[in-house]
C-alpha cells in the first residue's frame, strides 16, 4: 500500500514538474490549463506544405485533439461500420513514426452525428499515464508505452448514459482523480475516478439533459486546491475533484456545446452572452461582465495576454478579458468552425470544418490572417502547440507543422 501511495505521489510530483517547467507537453483538451493558451510556447508563423514536418494516417476518424506527453503525440480514433473500434495511438513527435497502438471494442453506445465522432473527447494525461475517453463512455488508462492499467465502461455500468448523437466531454485529471462528465437524457452524472485503480471515488447525479461541454480545471497551488468546473444548461458548478464536493455555483442558462474556460480567479462561460465569473466573490455578484459580441457557437473561448478570443460560426472576435470590451473581429475562411482555436506567441491557430487551417496574427486593434492551408479533409479537433510545432488532426490524419531551422 505504501508503494502505491509513493507511486501516486511520484505521479503528482512528475506532473507538477512538467507544469512548473512551462511544459513541453500539452496534456488535455485546450492544453494543460484548458485555456487554449500555449504559454511560453510559440508556433510556426506560416502553415504550408513547406512547414509540414510530417503527416501520419490514422486508422479511423475523430474529433478529439492530439495531446503531447514526453515527446509522444497521443491521439484517439474510432473505426468500423458501427464506429465501435476505439483506437489509442502514440507517435514520435520528432519523426511522426507510430510507436504503438491499442485498440478496444466499445462497450457503450456508438451512434453519432457526422459532425462528431465516437473519438470526440480529447484524452488527458498527468504526465505519466494517459486517460483516453470515448463517446461510448469507455475510459482507458494506459502508461506512455501503451501498457493497459485499467479500463471502465461507464455505459456498461449505466446503460442509458448516452444521447445517440455522440457524447463529447473531454476528461480532466487532478491529484489522482480523473473527472468524466457524462450528461444525457438518460442516466446523467459526473464521476471522479481513481487514476490508480479505475474505481469510482465519487459520482454526482446531474440534470437529465444533453450536454457536450467539457469540464475545465482551475489549478490551485496544490492539487488539493484544484477545482473542476462543470457547465450545463442549468448553470456552472465548481467541484473539488478529489471528493466531488461542490465548492461554488452560479445559476444561469449556459450553452451546452462551447465549454467554460479558466480565467484568473474564475471562468469565462459561454452563456447567452460570454460571461466572466469571479469565484472569489459571492455567487450573487460573481458576474464581472457580459458581452454578446464575444458569444461562441460551438468552439470554446480562449484567453491570452489579457485578451479573450471567441468564434461565432466563422467570425473570430477579440475582447478585453478584464472588462469584456469588444476589440475587433475577423471573418475566417470557411463556412463553419467546430473546433476551439489555440493561441501561441502572436498567433492564433484555427481550422474550419472544411479543413482550412488558418494562422491569425493577433494584435490590440485588429487580427490579420497571415497564412492558411487547406488539408482537404474535415477538421473537428482543436490543435496542440509544443516545442515550436503545431499538431493538428483532421478526420483521418495527424499533422505536424514547424518552421525549418
Amino acid at each position: 500500500m505504501r508503494l502505491l501511495q509513493l507511486r501516486s505521489h511520484l505521479v503528482l510530483f512528475g506532473a507538477a514538474v512538467l507544469l512548473l517547467s512551462g511544459g513541453a507537453d500539452w496534456l488535455a483538451f485546450r492544453g494543460t490549463n484548458n485555456d487554449g493558451n500555449a504559454g511560453s510556447e510559440t508556433g510556426p508563423a506560416k502553415i504550408s506544405t513547406e512547414t509540414t514536418a510530417w503527416k501520419a494516417a490514422l486508422p479511423g476518424r475523430g474529433a478529439s485533439s492530439p495531446i503531447v506527453v514526453g515527446g509522444k503525440i497521443i491521439v484517439t480514433a474510432d473505426s468500423g461500420y458501427k464506429s465501435d473500434r476505439l483506437h489509442i495511438l502514440a507517435f514520435d513527435a520528432a519523426s511522426g513514426t507510430q510507436l504503438w497502438e491499442r485498440q478496444f471494442w466499445a462497450t457503450g453506445r456508438t451512434f453519432c452525428h457526422e459532425t462528431s465522432a465516437v473519438a470526440a473527447p480529447t484524452p488527458a494525461s498527468d504526465g505519466k499515464f494517459v486517460y483516453a475517453f470515448f463517446g461510448s463512455n469507455d475510459l482507458v488508462c494506459l502508461d506512455l508505452d501503451g501498457n493497459l492499467q485499467w479500463l471502465r465502461g461507464l455505459t456498461h455500468d449505466y446503460p442509458t448514459a448516452a444521447n445517440d448523437t455522440g457524447m463529447a466531454a473531454s476528461p480532466v485529471v487532478s491529484g489522482g482523480t480523473v473527472v468524466a462528465q457524462v450528461e444525457s437524457e438518460g442516466e446523467s452524472f459526473v464521476a471522479g475516478i481513481d487514476t490508480r485503480t479505475g474505481l469510482t471515488r465519487w459520482r454526482m447525479n446531474r440534470p437529465r439533459e444533453m450536454n457536450w461541454t467539457s469540464p475545465c480545471l482551475l489549478r490551485g497551488k496544490t492539487a488539493d486546491e484544484d477545482l473542476v468546473v462543470i457547465q450545463a444548461r442549468e448553470g456552472v458548478r465548481a467541484l473539488r475533484p478529489q471528493t466531488g464536493e461542490e465548492a461554488w455555483k452560479y445559476d444561469t442558462e449556459c450553452q451546452t456545446i462551447a465549454s467554460a474556460t479558466p480565467h484568473e480567479k474564475g471562468v469565462l462561460v459561454p452563456a447567452e452572452q460570454l460571461l466572466s465569473l469571479d469565484f472569489t466573490s459571492g455567487s450573487a455578484d460573481a458576474a464581472q461582465w457580459k458581452q454578446v459580441k464575444l458569444s461562441s457557437s460551438t468552439s470554446s473561448p480562449i484567453v491570452r495576454d489579457g485578451k479573450v478570443y471567441s468564434i461565432q460560426r466563422t467570425v473570430l472576435a477579440c475582447g478585453d478579458a478584464k472588462t469584456g470590451e469588444f476589440l475587433w473581429q475577423l471573418r475566417l475562411t470557411g463556412t463553419n468552425v467546430w473546433s476551439t482555436p489555440v493561441v501561441a506567441g502572436d498567433y492564433l491557430y484555427v481550422a474550419s470544418e472544411e479543413g482550412v487551417v488558418q494562422v491569425v496574427r493577433t494584435g490590440l486593434s485588429k487580427g490579420e490572417a497571415v497564412s492558411e492551408l487547406a488539408l482537404e479533409e474535415r477538421v473537428l479537433a482543436s490543435p496542440a502547440v509544443v516545442d515550436g510545432a503545431l499538431y493538428i488532426r483532421s478526420l483521418g490524419h495527424l499533422y505536424k507543422f514547424a518552421e525549418k531551422n
Binding site: 461500420y81 485498440q103 493497459l148 492499467q149 442509458t160 438518460g186
Partner: protein, 397 residues
C-alpha cells in the same frame, strides 16, 4: 565424443524437464491471469487485480496468441478489452522485434466460424498484417460468414465487381447485385445494392430483407404527462385482448390495425393514434415462429420504450433521444414454436423542440448476424398508400 554423448544423455532430460516445467509454469500463469481478468465487472470491480494479470498476458509468447484469442469466447465486454489489448501488445512486440506471428494458427482460428466473431476478426487482422495474400485468398469465402465484419468485406468485393459489369449486360449485372444484396447485412451495402437493382428495373422487398414488422395492432394514447406513464402498466401490459377497449383520461381507446409501407418499417404513431404529446402508445404483433429459436428484436426509436414477448418484459430504455436509428436497441429474446406476441410500448414526452415531435419506432426480427427472421404468418407487403389508409380510422369516444 563419448564424454559429449554422456553429457548430452545426462543433461538433455533435465533440459527437457526444465523446458516443460517452464512452459507448464507459463501456461499456468496465463491461465491464472486470464481467470483474474475474466473476473472484472461493473464499477471497476477487479481492476486492481487485473492490472497485474494484464502484465502477465502481455508478456506471453506469440505462439500463445491463439490461447488468448480463445479466451475471448466467454469474456465479458470489459474483460474482452483487457485480453484484446494484451494480444495486440504481444503481436506488436513480436513484429517490432522482427519476429513472425503464427500465421497458420491465426488463419485456422479466423476461419473457424464456430469461434467468437470478434476473436476471429482480431486473428484475421493480425494475419493480414503478416500475410499480404490473406485478404485476396480469404475474403471471397466470407459472403455467407456468420460474422458481419467478415461478410461486409465480401459484399464490398461483390458490389465492386457488379459495378464493373458492362451496362449492356443487364442480366449479369442483376445477378451480381442480387448476390451482393443476399449477402449484405449492413444498411449502407443493402441500400447500395437495392438502388442499383432499382435502376436495373428490379423490385427489392427491403422490409423483408431486414425483417421489419409492417403490420401492427396499435392502441393509445395513454397518459404520459410529465413522463409518468413509463412505469405505469396500462392494460395492454397486463393482457392482450384485441377486442377490448379502455378508458383513457380523454377518450375510449381500442386496438386498431396499422400497416406501414415504409422501406424501414417506420411506424408513425402520430399518424396511427393522432398527434399528441405526453402520450403512451402500444403496438402488438402476432408472430408465428416455425420453431423454438433465439432472435434479436432490433428496435429504432427516439422515444422511451419497453418491449414484451409473450407477456414477459424483454427490454426497456427510459430515455428520450434526438434520433431514431436502425438497430438502435437490440433485445435478445426467445420465440417459441407457434404464435408469439411481441408488444412495444412507445412513450412520447412533452418536449417542444422539433425533433421531439416524432413519435415513432421501427422493429425488425433477425438473428445475431442481422439476417431477417420472417414470421410464418407474415402478411403480404402493404401497398405504398397503406400509411395514409391506415391513418384514417381514429380513436373516438
Amino acid at each position: 565424443m563419448h564424454r559429449v554423448t554422456s553429457l548430452i544423455r545426462l543433461t538433455l532430460p533435465a533440459a527437457i524437464l526444465i523446458a516443460l516445467s517452464t512452459n507448464t509454469g507459463a501456461a499456468e500463469d496465463l491461465s491464472s491471469a486470464l481467470k483474474t481478468i475474466k473476473a472484472v465487472a461493473a464499477e471497476g470491480a477487479g481492476n486492481e487485480q487485473a492490472q497485474a494479470a494484464w502484465k502477465t498476458l502481455a508478456k506471453a509468447e506469440a505462439a500463445q496468441i491463439p490461447v488468448l484469442l480463445a479466451a475471448l469466447e466467454d469474456a465479458n465486454p470489459l474483460a474482452a478489452n483487457y485480453i484484446r489489448a494484451a494480444i495486440d501488445a504481444v503481436a506488436e512486440r513480436q513484429l517490432q522485434s522482427g519476429k513472425p506471428l503464427p500465421a497458420d494458427a491465426l488463419e485456422k482460428f479466423a476461419l473457424d466460424t464456430k469461434r467468437n466473431a470478434r476473436a476471429r476478426r482480431l486473428a484475421y487482422e493480425w494475419l493480414t498484417r503478416v500475410d499480404k495474400t490473406a485478404a485476396e485468398r480469404l475474403v471471397p469465402k466470407f459472403a455467407d460468414d456468420p460474422a458481419v465484419e467478415f461478410r461486409r468485406d465480401a459484399v464490398a468485393q461483390l458490389l465492386d465487381a457488379a459495378a464493373k459489369i458492362d451496362s449492356s449486360d443487364k442480366d449479369t449485372a442483376i445477378d451480381a447485385y442480387r448476390q451482393a444484396l443476399a449477402a449484405a447485412r449492413d444498411r449502407d451495402q443493402v441500400d447500395k445494392a437495392a438502388a442499383a437493382l432499382s435502376k436495373l428495373g428490379q423490385t427489392v422487398d427491403l422490409p423483408a430483407h431486414f425483417g421489419f414488422i409492417q403490420h401492427w395492432k396499435v392502441i393509445g394514447p395513454f397518459d404520459n404527462h410529465e413522463e409518468r406513464g413509463y412505469p405505469i402498466a396500462y392494460p395492454p401490459e397486463k393482457s392482450i385482448d384485441f377486442d377490448a377497449s379502455y378508458d383513457d383520461k380523454t377518450e375510449k381507446v381500442k386496438w386498431m390495425d396499422f400497416a406501414t409501407a415504409d422501406n424501414y418499417g417506420n411506424v408513425d404513431l402520430n399518424k396511427a393514434l393522432g398527434k399528441t404529446l405526453g402520450a403512451v402508445g402500444y403496438a402488438a404483433v402476432e408472430f408465428e415462429s416455425d420453431r423454438d429459436r433465439d432472435v434479436e428484436l432490433r428496435l429504432g426509436t427516439r422515444c422511451a420504450w419497453k418491449m414484451f414477448v409473450n407477456g414477459q418484459l424483454a427490454g426497456a430504455y427510459d430515455s428520450y433521444n434526438p434520433s431514431t436509428l436502425l438497430d438502435q436497441h437490440i433485445v435478445k429474446a426467445k420465440l417459441k414454436k407457434g404464435n408469439n406476441v411481441i408488444l412495444v410500448k412507445c412513450c412520447q414526452n412533452e418536449q417542444t423542440v422539433p425533433w421531439a415531435q416524432l413519435w415513432h419506432f421501427q422493429l425488425r426480427v433477425c438473428d445475431v448476424a442481422g439476417t431477417a427472421v420472417l414470421a410464418a404468418n407474415r402478411p403480404p407487403r402493404p401497398a405504398a398508400e397503406a400509411d395514409a389508409a391506415a391513418a384514417a380510422p381514429r380513436n373516438s369516444k
